[in-house]
């Protein structure tokens, strides 16, 4: 059967090549043109930020930096990496991203599986209970007091517990599971697999593309978070994250550029070689420092987005 399919596919391909109508060709041209425009528009800001981050801070003030730095320098990066706290903070960021993502993807998927079961008696109640929480919030102070009473202040787990389940992710996973051909799930049940086995051996492998998507969502969220650090762990430097340390450096640069007027005055005649940073340059540099690692994750996840992969998985 496999063989048959393969041969018929090549035959069809040959046919369709002949038939590749003018319409399809035009479509392709338009499509590629559009994609290239999109690349230009979405790549430009990044190039621009990169250029500013590699440009002398005092020179950047004058504006007019677009694609290339005018006065090359690595000083902005030096300024950021001068802070020794950055490295430990990066470690914490990685830890919270990995642990937070793995737990939330796993837990969300598990609950999603139960909620995808049409016959589950708590299904409707639980779905509503989860969904509603997306639309309300008790407010800052009650949340803070809750975290305190749970003794999560000054603890790494404050990055994990509150986000244990992402309702948005949960719903997306659920809708994927519901989309799976009923026959596959049923085949599992007929095999006599219990719910745990069916979840681990059938649902998890089959939903890899959506799990990858959700992992990306929560990974990016974890990586970018700094508000919870600010709120709960700001006086615990050993639990600080990269984003929070970068925020600190940015604020520091605000006052530094202020003091540079002081230095400028005192240094006066001689102060030509000031290596002062400015918020403008620090912001650009921290954008690059903070986003490059997480951006690099995406290409690795893309292999899960292959067309027909889920169904292929069923067959194989």
């Amino acid at each position: 059967m496999e063989n048959n399919a393969a041969t018929s596919r090549t035959m069809r391909k040959a046919k369709s090549r002949i038939k590749a109508s003018a319409g399809d060709r035009i479509f392709d041209y338009c499509n590629y043109t559009f994609m290239i425009l999109l690349i230009i528009v979405t790549l430009y800001p990044f190039i621009n930020i990169l250029a500013v981050s590699l440009n002398n801070a005092q020179d950047s003030i004058k504006g007019g930096i677009f694609l290339l730095p005018r006065v090359w320098t690595l000083d902005n990066y030096r300024y950021i990496f001068r802070e020794s706290t950055i490295f430990h903070a990066t470690l914490i960021s990685i830890l919270r991203t990995v642990i937070g993502t793995v737990t939330t993807v796993f837990c969300s998927a598990m609950v999603a599986y139960t909620l995808s079961r049409q016959d589950y008696v708590l299904r409707k109640f639980m779905t509503i209970a989860f969904v509603l929480t997306m639309y309300f919030n008790g407010g800052l102070i009650p949340n803070y007091l809750l975290i305190r009473d749970l003794h999560l202040l000054g603890s790494f787990w404050v990055y994990v517990w509150p986000g244990l389940i992402g309702v948005f992710n949960l719903i997306i996973i659920r809708s994927f599971i519901e989309n799976l051909p009923e026959s596959i799930l049923e085949s599992g049940r007929i095999d006599g697999a219990g719910d745990f086995r069916s979840f681990f051996h059938i649902v998890l492998p089959l939903t890899l593309p959506v799990l990858a998507t959700v992992a990306l969502f929560s990974g990016v969220y974890q990586w970018n978070s700094w508000f919870d650090v600010f709120l709960y762990n700001s006086s615990h430097i050993n639990l600080s994250t990269l984003q929070y340390e970068l925020q600190k450096i940015l604020q520091n640069s605000n006052t530094t550029s202020g003091t540079s007027s002081l230095d400028g005055m005192i240094n006066g005649a001689s102060g030509a070689q000031q290596n002062t940073v400015t918020p403008l340059s620090v912001r650009a540099t921290m954008t690059i420092v903070a986003s490059l690692p997480i951006i690099m994750v995406y290409p690795f996840l893309q292999k899960y987005f292959v067309k027909g992969m889920m169904v292929g998985g069923v067959k194989g």
Partner: protein
């Protein structure tokens, strides 16, 4: 938020601004008794026994420096040797009200708190302990430095919970540059033969003539800064043009002490009309009303902008960039800006130079109910306020970061100046100790006549001038920029924007609404066709009339009078 940031930055600016003794430059004291103790830091004064080491925590509501411990710095280590105390410092990163709100709600505080703009909330929450007894027992220097200022800080129950951040000590040392001004490119003055420029009309005429003569250069006459809370740089000029200092939203009459708002006054109308006229001639940069702060600074450094009004600290980044360029290439000096004392009329004396004001009561530092050993903390503060330690935190260590000449005047050598950069400031502790602690105010001087602030010292200021600076100052026959400006009057309430007010009060509400209205109407007025100006102005007046301006003025006047009374009680 607007007010908070503005205050924070103005406060910062006050610290950053430098001035110089204009009258008698030094040489008062022949011998400065053994170079104010700083070179022998290990020896703590008196016979107090060494105490065990103790670490306290400080949360600073002003974003400032990186977190750390004071004893990681040279100064902090020396102070620890004297007192046994060190501090773990944490600076605000996110939103102040959020952070303070969580502290209050959980009733858990750091040992010492600098609540910045949230001071009322912290006081209302009862987070601070009264300091009176502690100061009586351990605070001779605190008493000496603050004197009766402390009475102005007292809460309604008569107790003192908060120490002001700084107090004026010794002779008043004015700033060598005005706090704010109408700035103009130096080449404009040069081409016009360094004329005396006093009025707005003269100023605008000068700009217009220059722009017309250099049509090919595509010059901009004026830009104004409007972005977000920085909008005050566009709305404050009427007050300055009327000859008042930056009292925020009001002009206060020195004699009657009446506070008047000016946002919808004739002065504001005149100012906006002037901009409107400039715009009609194509000399005003329309983008002023949409540009952000970075774009504004970029324009100031672009060489294309002939004039603008701003606070000096706010344009500091642009000034620095321009000065740097001019130092490398003196021909670029033409693009540096020069401050001018502009008012509406030559008969109106200007008020751009800050004089001796009052103690700022809506900022301060306090010890919280969570503090383990308040006595040690207050002793630390008291020790810090000793003159030798004030010299230490400002000038550093003799022979290392400053020198003393035969007349007993402090100065810095070129090598020392080069050495003190951002990283050194951090490592040595200048940064930590510059504005987070009870200290002498910016305009203070020591008992031997030396200025507290390094940049206030005339010797240091003169050294900072380039040849070109010297030239333009000579053209106007002055030694410092400030000398071109009127001497500040005594305004014991100044600045009025520093009056403490509750965040939910009608006064705060008035300010928010006023900001909203001016931000909306001023752009319209400036960009309108000249025949539409009056119609829009009347619309604005109608909207503005809905605010309880009389109530705001009454409240402010009361505060002014209170301050003045307190100051008179002082002397």
């Amino acid at each position: 938020m607007l007010r908070k940031r503005k205050l924070a930055l103005l406060g910062l600016a006050a610290v950053l601004s430098f001035s110089v003794v204009t009258a008698c430059s030094g040489s008062k004291k022949e011998n400065n008794n053994a170079a104010p103790g700083t070179s022998s830091p290990g020896v703590s004064e008196g016979t107090e026994p060494k105490k065990d080491k103790a670490t306290f925590t400080i949360f600073n509501g002003v974003a400032g420096s990186k977190d750390g411990n004071t004893n990681e710095t040279t100064i902090g280590k020396m102070l620890e040797d004297q007192t046994g105390v060190n501090f773990k410092l944490e600076f605000l990163v996110g939103d102040l009200n959020t952070k303070i709100g969580t502290m209050i709600a959980s009733n858990e505080y750091p040992d010492v708190l600098i609540p910045d703009a949230a001071i009322e909330e912290v006081l209302n929450a009862g987070a601070f302990i009264p300091l009176d007894d502690l100061i009586d027992k351990y605070g001779p220097n605190i008493k000496r430095v603050y004197g009766k200022d402390l009475d102005q800080m007292r809460a309604k129950d008569g107790k003192l919970y908060v120490l002001p951040m700084s107090a004026q000590v010794g002779n008043f040392v004015p700033d060598p540059e005005p706090a704010a001004a109408f700035y103009i490119q130096r080449r404009v003055l040069e081409e016009a033969g360094y004329p005396k420029v006093r009025t707005l009309d003269q100023y605008l005429k000068l700009i217009e003539d220059f722009a017309n003569k250099h049509k090919d250069e595509n010059l901009t006459g004026m830009v104004t800064l409007t972005h977000d809370w920085r909008f005050f740089a566009t709305s404050n000029p009427p007050m300055h043009l009327m000859g008042y200092p930056n009292d925020g939203n009001v002009m206060v009459d020195v004699n009657t002490l009446e506070a008047k708002t000016y946002s919808a006054s004739d002065a504001a109308k005149k100012w906006l009309q002037a901009l409107n006229g400039l715009n009609a001639k194509g000399l005003f940069d329309k983008a002023s009303f949409v540009d952000n702060y970075d774009q504004y600074i970029a324009k100031l450094t672009s060489h294309k902008v002939l004039g603008f009004f701003d606070q000096r600290w706010q344009a500091a980044n642009a000034f620095n960039a321009l000065k740097d360029a001019a130092r490398k290439d003196p021909s670029q000096d033409a693009y540096n800006y020069f401050p001018l004392p502009i008012t509406f009329d030559e008969n109106i004396p200007d008020a751009y130079v800050d004089g001796l004001g009052s103690v700022i009561t809506n900022r301060g530092i306090g010890i919280t109910v969570s503090a383990k050993d308040p006595a040690r903390i207050i002793q630390y503060f008291d020790n810090l306020l000793k003159e030798e330690n004030q010299i230490l935190i400002s000038w550093g260590i003799k022979g290392e970061t400053y020198e003393v000449n035969e007349q007993g005047r402090f100065y810095r050598t070129k090598e020392q100046i080069d050495k003190i950069d951002e990283a050194f400031n951090q490592k040595f502790g200048f940064k930590y100790y510059s504005w987070n602690w009870p200290s002498y105010g910016a305009n203070s001087s020591f008992s031997d006549g030396n200025a507290k602030g390094v940049g206030y010292q005339p010797e240091v200021f003169q050294m900072s001038l380039t040849e070109a600076d010297q030239k333009i100052l000579d053209q106007y026959g002055i030694q410092t920029y400030t000398q071109l400006f009127a001497k500040p009057l005594e305004r014991p309430w100044y600045p009025a924007w520093g009056f403490a007010k509750d965040a939910k009060s009608p006064e705060a509400m008035w300010e928010t609404k006023k900001d909203e209205l001016t931000k909306k109407y001023y752009p319209k007025l400036v960009l309108a066709a000249s025949d539409k100006f009056d119609t829009i102005w009347n619309d604005f007046l109608k909207e503005f009339g809905k605010l309880d301006t009389a109530g705001y003025e009454k409240w402010t006047t009361e505060q002014v009078k209170k301050k003045v009374e307190a100051a008179q009680g002082n002397s």
